[in-house]
Symmetry: C2
């Protein structure tokens, strides 16, 4: 959910013409307000969005939506893409239950899975998401 909410928020921001307060994003994205606040903070830390405080403050994308990659966001919010930590590039960690990692058949298999997954996810941008929406005036994304 958290990850999904993050992506929804980014799509809303990508479609918006100006900065938006979290309340407005929450409404458009149908995400619990306070929960979204925390997510936006994470997205900011991650460099995907920027924010302005105070009255008439709000959030906006930090870069063009075509440069914000879904894989990057998922890693920031959810953690590793790989099914097992020993097959992760960005969150590598040794397994307790395998001693000969070089020959571990589970690891080899899961490396293949993780590579395919990251190819897909790192090649998919927020702009791509936006483009999946059918062309119409009243934008409904979900």
């Amino acid at each position: 959910m958290k990850c999904k909410y993050a992506l929804k928020a980014l799509v809303v921001l990508a479609a918006a013409e100006d900065k938006m307060p979290s309340k407005a994003i929450a409404k458009k994205a149908k995400v619990p307000e306070k929960f979204l606040e925390a997510i936006l903070t994470e997205l900011k830390k991650n460099g995907a969005i920027t924010s302005e405080r105070g009255a008439f403050g709000g959030h906006r994308l930090a870069k063009p939506p075509a440069k914000i990659m879904v894989g990057h966001i998922i890693r920031a919010i959810d953690g590793m893409l790989a099914p097992v930590s020993c097959a992760s590039t960005f969150y590598y960690k040794k397994c307790r239950d395998c001693t000969h990692e070089e020959v571990c058949v589970i690891r080899h298999a899961m490396l293949e899975v993780r590579n395919q997954l990251s190819d897909k996810l790192d090649g998919m941008s927020v702009q791509n998401l936006l483009d999946m929406s059918p062309k119409q005036k009243q934008k409904i994304f979900w």
Copy 2:
């Protein structure tokens, strides 16, 4: 872990020449005994293995390892492959936060992901896992 343990148990059984008691599998696979017991029960329900009770009982594969698919096992143990339930084929469930599923951009994107994932995982058998192990007498899989 659970899923990984299940796959490890299946690889051990695939490499074995005869039925094996759970204790022996646990040792070879380096999986907690009692936990493995529960997993083997699930694998049996799923049709991947058969078992015999009593002294000299044990577990064996229910079919040739080339016909036991990793995707099938993961679904049985972990549940859906899809990142979101609305994009799952076998575990479909409507999201609360999306009303127009047909146009939902998140769902469309995650459908692509789940399709690639299931192609990979449903095309990978326990035999394939076994074949990833380097050829040598003393079989060490992990």
